[in-house]
Amino acid sequence: MYAILLLVISILAGFIGALLGLGGGIIVIPALTLIFGVDIRYAVAASLISIIATSSGAAASFLKDHLTNLRVAVVLEIGTVAGAMTGFLISSSIKSSWLYFIFGTFLLLSAFLMLRKKTDSRAEKNHPWSEKLKLAGAFPDGKGQLVAYKVAAVPFGIFCMFFAGILSAVLGIGSGIFKVMAMDGAMKLPMKVSSATSNFMIGVTATASAGAYFLRGDIRPEIACPVAIGIIFGSILGAKAMSELPANAIRKVFVAVMIIVSIQMIMKGINS
């Protein structure tokens, strides 16, 4: 019955994740460690599998909507892949207790970031790399019109992606929240393009460390399979229910839960 419970929690994680624009890892990792008592290293590895599944499965939708900037994604993937490889090496040297503490701190930070007001600022001119690589694009505004945008601060964007990649490998998350902040805050991409491009990239980011975790033997099918299957199924349901449910109200409740869980993870790290 524990396996069924994990499957149900993973479905719920995928459902809420799709509704609030979060990866399932933020829910599944605390559940695996606090409820099932699984060591955080196995939880991190399993979470990365679910991230690959949801990102790869949803790639078609992101591209069909013409929101994903594939060129920007490929350029920024240099940063995330390098960061994820570095993160894997770092995680090998960190004690499990520190991982609980870091994850709890990250969860607390994410809770506050979820409450921030999102601004949609635009770049006035392209960065020279953006000109050379033709990274600028256009996206549909929902009224049938294409809105053009430019891409600024490309090197800084790659630099931010490096740190997002480290977090992804160490904590088993997609780091979408930081990727979107870098793309919309620093590179001045429109919010919709940032979100879609970030969702498109997280699969590659997760793979950069998931392959290493897999060969090291940290990805165990008993944990990873129900997590991946549950999150895929839940995110499909969540995407369909998105327009019917009050996302803002759910977000506020979820933020409160995240704060409580983050404190529990931090305490577990301190007490280990």
Binding site: G57, V74, G211, L215, R216
Partner: protein, 124 residues
């Protein structure tokens, strides 16, 4: 314009390849997990303490015990991890078709980085 439309169609074909790939990998994982499913007991008890066992040793263990469910699950997991690698490779091909050599080289660097990352998990 025609080249741009063809490129977009190619991108979407790559994305649908990923979607079907996830479905097939998911089926393998579901079947493998189902074959080892137990209604009673705590299957996660043994994972409360981290014990590093390399994948080849695990595969050998399951082969000796003829635990085909676990092996099918591992096949599904391997397929899933391979998908983004293939996506990046196909993206490189796409950029070559578009005669975007710099972006193709960048995609190649990302692909080689992903291949290199696999070796980080192999114990010397």
């Amino acid at each position: 314009m025609k080249t741009e439309k063809t490129s977009v169609e190619l991108e979407i074909k790559i994305a649908y390849f990923l979607r079907y790939g996830v479905f097939i990998a998911g089926c393998f994982m579901f079947v493998g997990w189902g074959m080892n499913f137990k209604f009673s007991g705590d299957p996660y008890f043994g994972f409360s303490i981290y014990d590093q066992i390399p994948l080849p040793d695990l595969v050998e263990y399951y082969l000796r015990r003829k635990n085909y469910g676990a092996l099918i699950s591992y096949s599904g997991l391997a397929m899933l991890i391979a998908l983004p690698l293939i996506r990046v490779l196909l993206t490189m091909v796409l950029f070559l078709k578009q005669k975007e050599r710099t972006l193709a080289v960048i995609a190649l660097i990302v692909f080689l980085g992903l291949l290199l990352s696999l070796f980080l998990g192999i114990e010397p």
